[in-house]
């Protein structure tokens, strides 16, 4: 399966809201498989949203298994038309980077628990409760589907945005 090129800011697609998938047809299934392959291709990548690979559909894929911060992960999650049903009350600030914003990292507050409703890759509706790092990743990916980048979430530019340049 071909690895898709990653769109980088200022690509306007990254700042546009996505549209819901109405039919899980072959084109959408191929897109999902390509997104999974692309996510797996990058060693540190734990999630990918459709706009990052040039699609305007409301689809994200994620898999945090094997990540040191993941506790009891669900494994591969394909989120089609996801909506957040509930944010947990506790927030934690973590430093995020994004393949679509390669030169920066930022401190972003995220809910530590998330209740999600989405269709899975077979088209069945699912409710998921995600915790900790897995909840953080889902919020980052769903932000992409709403046209938001982590830079929209940092509270103070002075101490919350960092150049990642020294990391390459």
């Amino acid at each position: 399966m071909a690895v898709l090129p990653i769109r980088k800011f200022p690509d306007p697609l990254l700042k546009s809201p996505t549209r819901n998938v109405l039919k899980l047809d072959d084109q959408i299934k191929r897109l999902i498989q390509a997104m999974i392959a692309t996510m797996r291709h990058y060693p540190h990548c734990v999630g990918l949203a459709a706009p990052q690979v040039g699609s305007e559909y409301r689809i994200a894929v994620m898999d945090v298994s094997g990540h040191p911060k993941a506790e009891k992960p669900h494994g591969l999650l394909v989120l089609i038309n996801p909506i957040v049903m509930e944010y947990g009350p506790r927030e934690k600030v973590g430093r995020e980077g994004c393949m679509s914003v390669p030169d920066f990292t930022g401190n972003v507050p995220r809910a530590m628990k998330l209740r999600l409703r989405a269709f899975d890759q077979t088209g069945s509706p699912q409710d998921w409760t995600l915790r900790g790092f897995e909840a953080v990743v889902a919020q980052h990916e769903i932000d992409h589907l709403d046209g938001l980048l982590f830079l929209d979430r940092v509270e103070r530019v002075g101490s919350d945005v960092f150049r990642r340049k020294t990391y390459r």
Binding site: H44, R95, C98, V137
Partner: protein, 181 residues
């Protein structure tokens, strides 16, 4: 003669310092790169890296800055960056943040920083703040460092805690490695 420069500008805080310095560089056709600009009490400080459209001399740039220096009463220093100085530094370890806070007393920053220096731990960013209210003042220190891979974060934190105890302050060390999501 150089293409890349770092400038520092210091002066009493007032509206127009950022606009003055960046406006001058814009008119000279320069490109702003990394910068940090902040106010410490009543003083405003700028540190800024910029590149010039052609090679420039220190004298020509100093001349260009002179009117601004007079108008805003700034202390300006220009330093050319050589090719090797322009290279992005290689990371010297995993990025961590140390947070220290407690009642203000002399030596907090020095004790922490010299402890790190002896262990060849590189500090990349420091912010300190002292509360200016009535009563005993609170001091807070936030610094970022690159922890060499050969050093354990847990061991470093335990040693920092012993120093903090002697200083009567609180300390924590947390990983600041970003997660690429």
């Amino acid at each position: 003669m150089a293409r890349r420069w770092i400038v520092t500008a210091l002066g009493k805080d007032r509206p127009g310092i950022v606009a003055g310095v960046t406006g001058l560089l814009y008119k000279l056709g320069c490109n702003l790169e990394d910068s940090a600009m902040t106010r410490l009490e009543g003083e405003f400080a700028i540190m800024l890296i910029f590149s010039t459209p052609q090679r420039a001399t220190a004298a020509s740039l100093a001349q260009a800055f002179a009117p601004l220096q007079r108008r805003l009463k700034l202390v300006i220093h220009l330093k050319p960056l050589t090719k090797p100085e322009s290279k992005t530094p290689k990371p010297r370890g995993r990025r961590h943040t140390i947070s220290v806070y407690g009642a203000d007393r002399p030596g907090i920053v020095f004790r922490i920083a010299s402890f790190l220096a002896r262990r060849k731990v590189n500090i990349t960013d420091v912010h300190t703040h002292r509360s200016a209210g009535r009563g005993p003042s609170l001091y807070s220190l936030l610094l970022e460092l690159e922890l060499p891979r050969s050093r354990s974060a847990d061991a470093l934190e335990a040693q920092l805690e012993r120093i903090a105890q002697r200083l009567g302050v609180h300390v924590s060390l947390t990983s600041a490695e970003p997660d690429v999501l």
